[in-house]
């Protein structure tokens, strides 16, 4: 659980930093799953430290991805431009 959350957290940070504009939705989903796994991992004493690191990385990654991904109905206009 701890390693999985850390890996997912790092992946979401990488997506958030390098390609949140296009893949932010993937990064946000990965980051949120990482947070859930980290909390599950914190309950296992051996994995508490790794899980804590995974928790922090997942939160940072999720925030980075959400920042650039989430757009409101405003972006209907963007679709029209692409069509």
């Amino acid at each position: 659980m701890g390693i999985a959350s850390l890996v997912l957290g790092i992946i979401s940070i990488v997506i958030g930093v390098f390609s949140a504009g296009s893949l932010g939705w993937v990064g946000a989903v990965i980051g949120i799953i990482g947070i859930v796994l980290a909390i599950q991992g914190k309950k296992i004493p051996d994995q508490a430290n790794l899980s804590q690191a995974g928790f922090i990385c997942s939160i940072i990654g999720t925030v980075l991805c959400l920042l650039t991904y989430i757009a409101c109905v405003a972006c209907v206009g963007c679709l029209a431009l692409l069509a």
């Binding site: 893949l23 939705w25 920042l67 409101c72 109905v73 405003a74 963007c78 692409l82």
Partner: protein
């Protein structure tokens, strides 16, 4: 360029986490469980909000280009509908209870003021971006966008986003006070039902002063959100009557 909408959603989630922390601690519950529930609800809300957006704007989608990665990403990035998020969030809540065996309804009843709080921040983002705009209006408080990818520029508009921000904050405060009063008197919380009724009624009225109907669909003179508001109110009222009768029947 600053992504205003995303920024305010992130600020809203942060404010919601702080408010949730105090609400959960005050009711002697586990904050870690609250975060897990929030994650499930958040995922469900993202999926639901996106699905309803795709449904209401399906006419503008070019399905022949759905395998084009650039187009797919634009489609996934462009637009969320709050009511879809609400329904998706409820499904996420149900799944969380089933998968993680957490008493999700108890947590939801206590932390429900967090939803209108986060929603209020989202609407501030709308006001900055210019989406979810109001009808043309030149009275006090009218807003004029000089640059917006959604709202008509140079036209005075009703500040519907600001009204929704204020309304959501009032709903959050009412729910918070209601929860506190119930906790002190040892009464069973019905904050979920109260929130759904308050927001649905408020949204139904607000829809009359929104001007982005063409982007969201109209059916028999009412917008998609107004129809959803009617359905939500009907479902809550019917389930409450049935539940009241069941309780009266067993006493």
């Amino acid at each position: 360029m600053i992504p205003w909408y995303g920024l305010f959603i992130v600020l809203g989630v942060a404010a919601g986490a702080v408010a949730g922390y105090f609400l959960i601690r005050r009711n002697h519950m586990e904050f870690d469980d609250f975060i897990q529930i929030a994650c499930f609800v958040g995922l469900g809300a993202m999926v639901g909000a996106k699905l309803l957006y795709l449904i209401v704007s399906w006419r503008s989608i070019d399905f022949s280009r759905i395998t084009d990665l650039e187009y797919l990403n634009a489609l996934m990035g462009g637009g969320f509908v709050f009511y879809g998020g609400l329904l998706g969030g409820l499904i996420g809540l149900y799944l969380c209870g089933k998968i993680l065996h957490i008493p999700v309804l108890d947590y939801a009843r206590v932390s429900i003021p967090v939803i209108p709080l986060v929603h209020a921040f989202g609407r501030i983002g709308c006001a900055f971006v210019g989406c979810c705009y109001g009808v043309p209006y030149d009275g006090p408080g009218a807003v004029v966008y000089t640059e917006s990818i959604a709202a008509p520029t140079g036209v005075p508009l009703f500040p519907v986003q600001a009204v929704e921000v204020a309304g959501n904050l009032v709903i959050a405060v009412v729910l918070g006070l209601y929860g506190e009063i119930c906790r002190r008197n040892g009464k069973r919380l019905k904050s979920l039902q109260l929130y759904l009724i308050l927001y649905a009624a408020f949204r139904f009225v607000l829809e009359f002063v929104r001007y982005d109907d063409s982007e969201r669909g109209i059916l028999m003179g009412l917008s998609t959100s107004q129809w959803i508001s009617i359905v939500i109110c009907a479902v809550v009222i019917v389930t409450e009557i049935l539940s009241h009768r069941r309780v009266s029947g067993t006493v």
